[in-house]
Amino acid sequence: MSTLVSWLPDLLEGLRHSLWLTFVSLLLGLPLGLVLGYVAELTPSRPVRWLLVALIELARGLPALVVLYLVYYGLPSVSIVLSSFWSVILAFTVSNAGYVSEIVRGALRGIPAGQLEACRALGIGRTRTFLSVIAPQALRISTPSLISYAAIVFQSTSLAVAVAEPELLSAAYNIGSITFEYVQVFVLAGALYAVVVVAASRLAGWLSARTAY
């Protein structure tokens, strides 16, 4: 038991880093996904829409680990060397922008087209329409899915172990490879992941029950 407690500082430091990775990749991925989803759903130009949908589907269809390796091992071949931290962020942003934009597209479809037409009839500019009319409602509709999605991103930060980024799973693995008490340390790390994920999904469920029309 006392050994478990002695591992906690390292594991919590790893957890902190996992949360930080989640935060940064959401910070970059959400606006990108928002813009992608918004343009893909509302652009009048068909080729643009098809191109965006194709890109979104491509990014979603590739395993995140393959994208991560491509960034980490592939970009140096073209003289772009990123640290493992930024490789993880870039890979997650690419493979997640598609998910966010799907959520956003779904939310936008939930807003009646009449509102857009009304804004145009009232002479409200495009930017203003988006910021004051569309975005607040879309955000309200999509918040529960975005929280569940944040939980998925948090789980997927565990992939960073593959490029030796010091997050929670790496911390657990390091402890395990010294002590060989893999079961205990992975159970403890798993519990830390599960606490965060289950809390987030309960929050999402509660919010979606509350905001349902």
């Binding site: 395993p63 994208v67 390796y69 071949s77 565990s158 079961v183 992975f186 992941y193 999904s201």
Partner: protein, 208 residues
């Protein structure tokens, strides 16, 4: 990179995906039956199972079972872990399918004195299956991508082979782009096959 390794690697990716999906779809039925059981203990077990299995990242499960328990080969570990994870997700998909069948039907069956088990099995479950099929299919397509995690514990599937090739040749682009295309092809194939299967299922229950 050495392309001759790809067929075998592809086969492993397919094997992990399909075997795990098979386990998950069957075990998921047991989990959802427990979840809807009359007995509180069974229901609690099912809830804890789905929460714990889905709350812990699959990569942690893989390492826990492979390094911690150490009873199975890497391939066996991958199939078991992804199968168990799939059982939790499938159970949730089945549950929402069952809940989407109007309650009135269950009441009508009771009013007609049809035994509960017969009614659930022959009237409610088939409709729930049709409703749940598309979600099961998209889970399976997600599993194609998740199977890449098996490379971390040393299963020589697509991502593992690409990773090794990248480390040996110093070319970090060709291997990953190649396997990326293969993943997309497999997903696409699965999507088309699944769509046909779903339509057949739908057609069969509609006409009866």
């Amino acid at each position: 990179m050495d392309f001759s390794l790809l067929p075998e690697a592809m086969l492993l990716t397919v094997e992990i995906t399909l075997a795990a999906m098979g386990i998950g779809m069957v075990l998921g039925v047991l989990v959802v039956v427990a979840r809807r059981s009359r007995f509180r203990v069974l229901r609690a077990v099912a809830v804890v199972w789905t929460d714990v299995v889905r709350g812990v990242p699959p990569l942690v499960w893989l390492m826990l079972v492979f390094l911690g328990i150490g009873l199975f080969t890497a391939l066996g570990t991958a199939i078991i872990v992804f199968g168990l994870v799939a059982s939790a997700y499938c159970a949730e998909i089945y549950r929402s399918g069952l809940e989407a069948v109007p309650r009135g039907q269950t009441e009508a069956l009771a009013a007609l004195a049809v035994p509960a088990r017969t009614g659930q099995l022959r009237v409610v479950a088939p409709q729930a299956a049709v409703i749940a099929a598309p979600a099961v299919l998209s889970y399976a397509i997600g599993l194609v991508k998740d199977s890449s995690l098996a490379s971390v514990i040393g299963v020589a599937e697509l991502t593992f082979v690409a990773n090794r090739a990248a480390n040996r040749t110093g070319d970090g682009i060709t291997p990953f782009v190649t396997v990326g295309v293969l993943y997309l092809l497999f997903s696409l194939l699965l999507a088309v096959a699944g769509k046909l299967g779903t339509q057949r299922l739908e057609g069969r229950w509609r006409t009866r």
